[in-house]
């Protein structure tokens, strides 16, 4: 099947993805897209990502979550009750046979599996909100909570508060990406004979990458951090925001004097370039009402696409701010084949932005098919652990293996 034993850069790398949240599944998805053989192990009730919207036909069901289809593309599925001793033994045996194990399980569940002892030669990457070791090991989390703890949340939203919460699973995608980097360093060490390793990846620390610049600066100059100023206002630079246009929205950033002068020319008001209220990006921030008073009415005279393209020609860093519908139709992204087709046997396929790395020599799967819960259980246990058909059926009878006989 797609992604299994293919020609990608990570072909032949054996990964166990025990999941637990979006972050772990995304880390596994990056491995699968690069050609690794990823086995997705879920409890019989299914991983939490199967409960995430959107759903085919708008009806919540485990086979048909769009997030599951994206996150599990190109993985094979195994459903095991590893709270039972025999189920845990199977996970340990598969871990011994793997190069890498990814898990974001509750700490007590991970401790019960004890994979570090069972599979000393594997790289084992544990993801958690606050770190698997340390005082926060048992604290629960969400994307918003991790962003709050990492100083990412505070500056977002209206001046009077409370801060707004970024939509979706952004902190977990970020954490899954960081976990992938960590895992690749461990696999590189293993390729040089380093043996196995246990890696502890904290989503809060991964998210801190965005705010640590402000923290380090504080250690240099002691200047108090700036307060939240409002939606799309990030002091001390202006304009660095999103403006309404005749239709849609355009993003504009002017940092250098040259960019500001070009912006003034672009909107047909070259005289503003010499206005002392707007002489520097800091001065423009201090005079932001006057600044927007000059810019907004002019920008409303043309559509966003006009300002985007004309701005880029004039060397003003501009951006189209595409809606989700527009994003799927942009010529540029189409030309780059940025979208892939994601499939599942029980849900209609859709197109979504694929893993974005473009390697000239090794393919990256764009899109792919996600497994049903437990879909490949029988074949995985036969192939990897050399179990006989009757041994496999006994596991089904004991309620250890969930491997429904499904129509193709």
């Amino acid at each position: 099947m797609a992604g299994q034993g293919g020609s990608g850069a990570l072909a032949g790398v054996r990964v166990l993805d025990l999941g637990g949240e979006v972050a772990a599944a995304y880390c596994g998805a990056l491995f699968a897209a690069c050609g690794a053989e990823v086995i997705r192990i879920e409890p019989p009730a299914g991983d939490v990502v199967r409960r995430l919207p959107p759903f085919a036909d708008g009806v919540a069901r485990p086979e048909g979550s769009g997030m599951q289809m994206f996150l599990d593309a190109n993985k094979r599925g195994l459903a095991l009750d590893y709270t039972k001793p025999r189920g845990a033994e199977i996970v340990r045996a598969l871990a011994r046979d793997a190069d890498l194990v990814i898990e974001a399980l509750p700490p007590e569940t991970a401790a019960a599996l004890d994979l570090a002892v069972a599979a000393p030669d594997a790289a084992i990457v544990s993801l958690s909100w606050f770190g698997r070791e340390g005082p926060g090991r048992d604290w629960r989390g969400t994307d918003a909570v991790a962003m709050a703890a990492a100083a990412f949340l505070y500056p977002i939203g209206p001046e009077e508060g409370p801060p707004l919460v970024p939509g979706g699973h952004q902190s977990q995608i970020n954490g899954g990406l960081v976990a992938f980097v960590a895992a690749m360093t461990a696999l590189t060490g293993r390729a040089q004979g380093d043996g196995g390793a246990r890696l502890d990846v904290s989503l809060v620390e991964a998210q801190a990458a965005y705010a640590e610049s402000g923290a380090v600066r504080f250690a240099y100059d002691g200047a108090p951090p700036r307060s939240r100023k409002g939606v799309n206002l990030f002091p001390p630079i202006a304009p660095q925001t999103i403006f309404p246009c005749a239709d849609g929205w355009v993003g504009v950033t002017c940092v250098t004097p040259m960019q500001w002068r070009a912006m003034c020319g672009l909107i047909g008001a070259p005289e503003l370039a010499d206005d002392p209220r707007f002489a520097t990006s800091f001065a423009r921030f201090d005079n932001i009402d006057a600044l927007y008073g000059e810019l907004v009415p002019r920008l409303k005279t043309q559509p966003a696409a006009y300002w985007f393209h004309e701005g880029q020609k004039a060397r003003v860093p501009t951006a189209l701010v595409p809606t989700m519908a527009e994003l799927a139709t942009l010529d540029h992204l189409r030309a780059r084949e940025a979208f892939g087709r994601y499939e599942h046997p029980d849900a209609p396929a859709f197109e979504a932005p694929a893993i974005p790395w473009k390697f000239s020599a090794t393919p990256v799967a764009r899109g792919g098919r996600a497994p049903r819960l437990g879909e490949h259980g029988r074949e995985i246990l036969r192939e990897r652990l050399s179990l006989t058909a009757s041994e496999v059926e006994a596991l089904v009878d004991q309620g250890v293996l969930l491997a429904p006989e499904l129509a193709a």
Binding site: G161, I173, L199, A215, W249, G251, A319, V321, P356
Partner: protein
């Protein structure tokens, strides 16, 4: 005995500037890759100070940039004027000794310098070269310029954040930068893994906009599956109830909090003085609680508003509720959890003295990789690198220096 560095033996030619590119090479340098950073002797990394125009001032401001200093530690710094033919030749000779090169210049800059992937490949057939322009190296917009801010805007992410009445809402002053750095580090490690196994190098094209589009992946998926974008929920969550950001005692103090598992609801209800809620079977699930979400949020806000952020967090965590105060960037330096996990270390550097550094956000066997050296001063290792890697005699290096090719 200390653990060996996982990326030992890998050498990378680093032609990056700013935040995204240097952060990418820093992740690798931190784990033991030998990263050789090239700057122009008269035109240094603008991240040393974007108002300096690439030139040193009397105060040596370019050596005192917090951003530069923590993103370029563990690297060797070489000052070579790449606009001169002799400088280009040195860069190509260095590329011969490297496994990979990384650059984050605007599309076209490397071509102007004669340092494209094809140029490097002619010198070193198995080299990897990663480029990370905002919109990618190919496609109709490949020449367009981007900042961390416009990368976020271009990714469509702002449409996924905010309340229904808000404009598309940005999350960060330069979201694209750190995100691009991580994505580039990941892609480079994949290409290096392949090269180790096969000897084959390649070109890697990373569009930073496409990297950030992944962060909001639920958006395009929802649009494609349902024909409409995700609802803009402000501070709420599609599954968890309650989920939001609530006031704490003090000015502009808040706490993010959510019930993520059903077993946390009864203890929270009791904490809020609502034994009736704890006992009500209709409220046992998030679907049931959704009907009175406003009322639950008011009660939770009243509870947190009477407490300092840390006290509120401890009380809520004690009930099994996910919670964290909305700390500000400077607070990270003194954060007790980060301190307990050894996230920050202090190292000494010329011109600035001892200053804190955030380490890579992971540990091996509970141990973090220590920092081996501070960020180089401009051209600090020019002579050593030209001597050690290219075997240039002293007289030749002196001649290059006299002509202003190196510094």
């Amino acid at each position: 005995m200390s653990r060996p560095l996982t990326l030992r033996g890998i050498r990378i030619l680093d032609l990056t500037m700013g935040w995204a590119g240097p952060l990418a090479s820093r992740y690798l340098a931190d784990e033991g890759a030998e990263v050789i950073k090239i700057e122009g002797p008269g035109h240094f990394d603008w991240w040393r100070g974007w108002d300096l125009g690439g030139k040193a001032d009397a105060n040596q401001t370019h050596e005192k940039s917090p951003n530069y200093n923590y993103n370029n530690r563990n690297k060797r710094g070489v000052a070579i004027d790449l606009t001169r033919p002799e400088g280009r030749a040195l860069a190509l000779r260095l590329a011969e000794t490297c496994d990979a090169a990384i650059e984050n210049q605007a599309t076209g800059v490397m071509a102007k310098l004669g340092l494209t992937y094809e140029d490097l490949k002619a010198a070193n057939p198995s080299i990897i070269m990663l480029s990370m322009p905002g919109f990618g190296a190919e496609g109709p917009w490949s020449a367009y310029r981007a900042y961390g801010s416009t990368v976020e805007q271009s990714s469509g992410l702002p449409h996924l954040t905010g309340r229904p009445e808000d404009p598309p809402a940005m999350c960060h002053i330069a979201y694209g930068d750190a995100a691009g750095g991580m994505s580039a580090a990941a892609a480079l490690l994949v290409a290096l893994f392949h090269r180790r196994r096969t000897g084959e190098g390649q070109r890697v094209d990373l569009a930073q906009v496409e990297g950030l589009m992944q962060f909001g992946i639920h958006g395009p998926i929802t649009q494609a599956m349902t024909g409409a974008p995700p609802e803009r929920l402000g501070r709420r969550h599609p599954l968890h109830v309650p989920h939001g950001v609530f006031p704490c005692a003090g000015e502009d103090r808040w706490i993010a909090a959510a019930v993520t598992v059903d077993e946390a609801w009864p203890p929270l209800a009791r904490l809020l003085g609502r034994e009736d809620w704890a006992a009500d079977p209709a409220l046992a699930t998030p679907e049931g609680r959704r009907a009175i979400e406003d009322e639950i949020e008011q009660a939770l806000a009243a509870f947190t508003a009477a407490r300092e952020p840390q006290a509120a967090a401890e009380a809520l965590r004690g009930a099994g509720v996910a919670a964290a105060p909305t700390v500000r960037s400077a607070d990270l330096l003194s954060d007790p959890l980060l301190a307990a996990r050894g996230f920050w270390v202090e190292i000494d550097r010329a011109h600035v003295g001892p200053k804190p550094h955030p380490l890579n956000p992971w540990s091996y066997e509970g141990v973090r990789t220590p920092i081996r050296s501070p960020a180089p001063t401009l051209g600090e290792h020019t002579e050593a690198v030209l001597r050690d890697l290219l075997n240039l005699p002293e007289a030749e290096i002196e001649a290059l220096r006299a002509e202003g090719v190196v510094n």
